[in-house]
Amino acid sequence: MGLDNSIVGLTGPEFTFEVEKRHIRQFVQAIGDKNPLYVDEAYAAGTPYGGIIAPPTFPIAIGVEGESIDLELDQKRMLHGEQEFIYNRPIRPGDRLTCQMKVADLYEKEGRSGKMQCLVLDTEIKDENGKQVAISRTNIIYR
């Protein structure tokens, strides 16, 4: 049985994510990314960023932290097809981010093995004033 369109628009609970310098450092170390922009305060201060920022895929660690929406998905039928990040401003250590997961879209696509469903899940990331910082968008193929 496929997913029903009524799930589009469903949201998960809001949660707060505090960005820590150490978390950023561990994240880039795991990738093996030696860019000083993520770890070296003095270097980063001299760039147009004006200070340390988080790397482009860091929002994925935010999405994991929060409570997801209970869509009763069958894990075995799920495939992470695509990931997208939309940035309004860089994420910085000390940021207290307000995050919420949302079912952004559900559509059908013709695949190699017949029709499949594509589920689009957004994690909306905002600052303390409610201004958008980034969106982490996950495209899940559901077969």
Partner: protein
């Protein structure tokens, strides 16, 4: 250093070759990203679901591409959009090469942009991730 005026559509940029992926790296990435799916850290579990052994997190591969994109951008531009489609699996020992080509250069609201076509391969033609990044010049 990246300069808007030097870019041409279709231009191929210098690739980045990452050191071979290690199992320790997958453990580190699991911890840092919070993705503790044992498929990435537990060989026995991975084999029980038909895999030859642990495989890398798809997001680690996107992390490599993120490193590459930020290396290209340097202090001249920042990403406004970054997306990747997941391809073949990456296993410990795989050496990932990131490459890019300039797809489009344009101005919008008096800001300069470049769209890059990017991909990560474990061998020529064996794509583990492909996508696009949009850079906005400072």
């Amino acid at each position: 250093m990246l300069k808007y005026n030097d870019l041409q559509e279709g231009q191929v940029l210098k690739p980045l070759v990452k050191p071979a992926v290690t199992k320790v790296q997958l453990v580190k990435y699991a911890g840092a990203s919070g993705d503790f799916n044992p498929l990435h850290t537990d060989d026995e579990f991975a084999q029980s679901i038909g895999m030859p052994g642990v495989i890398a997190h798809g997001m680690l591969v996107m992390g490599f591409l993120g490193e590459y994109v930020m290396h290209i951008a340097g202090t001249k531009a920042e990403p406004t959009n970054f997306r990747m489609r997941f391809g073949a699996i990456t296993r410990p020992g795989d050496e990932i090469t990131c490459s890019a080509a300039v797809r489009n250069i344009y101005e919008e609201d008096s800001k300069q942009y470049a769209d890059l076509e990017i991909k990560a391969e474990k061998a020529p033609g064996k794509v583990v991730g492909s996508g696009q990044a949009t850079l906005r010049f400072f």
